[in-house]
């Protein structure tokens, strides 16, 4: 089992940091059963989530921190992202967006892409008041986000 974990406190550099953390993860010589597309799907999912933290999250003046933890189990990739923001209603966000996606939309695809790439998506508030997103990306999948293309 390979794993990498990093704590970020600077939202200005977290996106590049997340991408190079994945490079670090891939460099460590992944299990042969892991396909590269699964790693790229996991990376996209983590990117979308951290991009939302940068753009939308409310840290209420606290110094933000975000911990990204990635590891493999066989041909699965597991990710956990914790942060000290005020969180938000992910379930509602997903439902609203799934119904409301306009044709060839400009925004609103991030959470849906995250959802489509992952096979288990849990968002919880931990005992110490931090928010925790957990998900699994399975190898060998062909995930699909259905976007309305007819205008």
């Amino acid at each position: 089992m390979e794993s990498v974990k990093q704590r970020f406190t600077d939202l200005n550099t977290i996106i590049d940091g997340v991408h190079s953390l994945f490079d670090q993860f891939q460099m460590s010589g992944l299990h042969p059963s892991l396909d590269e597309d699964a790693v790229l799907q996991a990376k996209l999912a983590v990117h979308e989530w951290t991009a939302n933290l940068v753009q939308h999250a409310d840290f209420e003046g606290r110094i933000p921190w975000v911990v990204v933890d990635i590891w493999t189990e066989g041909d699965r990739i597991e990710c956990v992202i914790e942060d000290n923001s005020n969180g938000f209603d992910l379930e509602r966000g997903l439902v609203e967006r799934a119904n409301g996606l306009s044709s060839i939309p400009e925004r609103g695809m991030g959470l849906l892409m995250l959802k489509a790439c992952t096979s288990r998506l849990e968002y919880t508030k931990t005992e110490d008041r931090t928010y925790r997103l957990e998900f699994t990306v399975n190898g060998g999948q062909d995930p699909c986000l259905d976007i309305p293309f007819s205008s």
């Binding site: 996106i15 597309d37 996209l44 990117h47 940068v54 753009q55 060839i104 849906l112 892409m113 293309f149």
Partner: protein
């Protein structure tokens, strides 16, 4: 939000066609810049956009949204947006969203140029 300037290089190809070199990333950090770069080109008469993804490690939902925005702008003008030299991280997004249905893909910028002659 990061203040990196990730700018786009534009090369004219023929009167109606331009090549936009997408750099390392097209994401929420530079999608607005991408849109305004393309806007300027449309105003100057460009209709067809060849997006060169050969160097691109990051394409996210906001980046894709900005390409959709361009597509909606040039479609009524009978323009096209095509993808060239799609890198593997970009291909993963294209496949996930099935956007190959709206954007033709070419193995290289040259192949795209030929098709858009």
């Amino acid at each position: 939000m990061q203040v990196t300037t990730m700018s786009f290089t534009v090369e004219p190809c023929n009167q109606e066609t331009v090549i936009v070199r997408i750099g390392k990333a097209l994401d929420f950090r530079n999608a607005a810049e991408f849109k305004s770069t393309c806007q300027t080109q449309v105003r100057s008469g460009a209709r067809n956009f060849i997006l060169d993804f050969s160097e691109t490690g990051i394409l996210d939902s906001t980046g894709l949204g900005s390409i959709f925005s361009l597509y909606r702008q040039v479609s009524p003008l009978e323009g096209q947006v095509v993808f060239a030299a799609v890198s593997r991280p970009v291909q993963v997004v294209v496949q996930l969203t099935r956007t190959y249905k709206v954007f033709r893909q070419f193995p290289s910028v040259e192949a795209a140029e030929e098709a858009l002659q």
